[in-house]
Symmetry: C2
Subunit: 248 residues, 2 copies
Amino acid sequence: MTNAPAPRLPEAGNVTRKSGKSCVILLSGGLDSTTCLAWARAQGFTCHTLAVDYGQRHRIELDAARRVAEAQGVRDHRVVSVDLRAIGGSSLTSDVAVPRHRDEAAMAAAIPSTYVPARNSVFLSVALGLAETLGATDLVAGMNVLDYSGYPDCRPEFVRAFEALAGVATRAGVEGARFAVHTPLMQLDKAGIIRLGVALGVDYALTHSCYDPSPAGLACGACDSCRLRANGFREAGVPDPTRYATPV
Amino acid sequence: MTNAPAPRLPEAGNVTRKSGKSCVILLSGGLDSTTCLAWARAQGFTCHTLAVDYGQRHRIELDAARRVAEAQGVRDHRVVSVDLRAIGGSSLTSDVAVPRHRDEAAMAAAIPSTYVPARNSVFLSVALGLAETLGATDLVAGMNVLDYSGYPDCRPEFVRAFEALAGVATRAGVEGARFAVHTPLMQLDKAGIIRLGVALGVDYALTHSCYDPSPAGLACGACDSCRLRANGFREAGVPDPTRYATPV
């Protein structure tokens, strides 16, 4: 179905094959985090997935996360509620409209209203708490710097700062453990992520990306997330299984 | 009512008088965070308080936080729900018994079961999100290193690591803002905190510290938090307004 070359698997830093070692994966149910999960399984990790119900308008992604976790046979899947609506500041957690029909230049020009203040700090902190409970020191998350909307907490410097925090924030860190936040997608664009996922056997039909889905769960086809997703499939030469309300 | 000398007010780092500058204060409703709020008001900050409903067995502290916020006339008070029960790992968020009747040596010997994995990372991250929404760059939190139970995320190195994270995690940080996490109680023991609060006019009868209160809201008098509180009042020479179920 695809002409894409089989990509080289990104390495997990100093991790080679982690037979049975537990890791915690932030799984939103979207394309990126689903690919991360497949990557972590391929690395040999025992996978514990964590979805966050943060009052996002696209709560439907939580169903996708559950489907993906089940399809990939994770050890366990949890949903943690964090009510970020109480702090506001984002079109994803308030009644502000999600931007639509923006081209790549517009997406790149400024941090958009879909930025959720401190979201990845909150999510990684919850993942860190779960890791500590499980005795794990490896976290996996789908941030990527190339192909997204300029969110500050998707950059390598953020990830390094969080690793430093984890080392001093936890009982395990005090006892000498080193925490690693693996971001295997960091340097990939959306097409590259899709090629990686296809090589790892990901079924993207199970995933959900749209920020502003219809009540019936159709992707809007107009928000940044839909456009990046559709362009990614196109560039990767992979059929897009997404059901869009309007053609992208 | 007290013979305690008026303490010197801890300085807010490079902050002197912040007339009207907004700050976000983590307010649990306990003795420490209530003192922090009084300190922040004395510094001239406009105070936005944030309590976290994290599934703690002593949820009654949320009522105390509301009372304290009202009594001290904050700009606004919010409660954010973060379901840390879903990750477990602590006697404060599970059915594991809270330790009782431990002396100071026992408290100091090891990180106790009341430690909630990554709690302060989660709480400060939520506070950071609120700060970003408000356009604030000052956070205030009640950690202190001397008189507590060896929680790793109450230490100065944790606070510094979080400030570094905040600088790279946020839109404001990317645009050059410097975030500060003020911890005015860091080097004070419980008696010193109480003396500071009394000097600032805090009504400690409004606060709640007990980890394991009775259904009627009485403090147990036996958990670490009750014992530290009671000893603090005794050492400070200040009458303890707490209603204990059993004498401490």
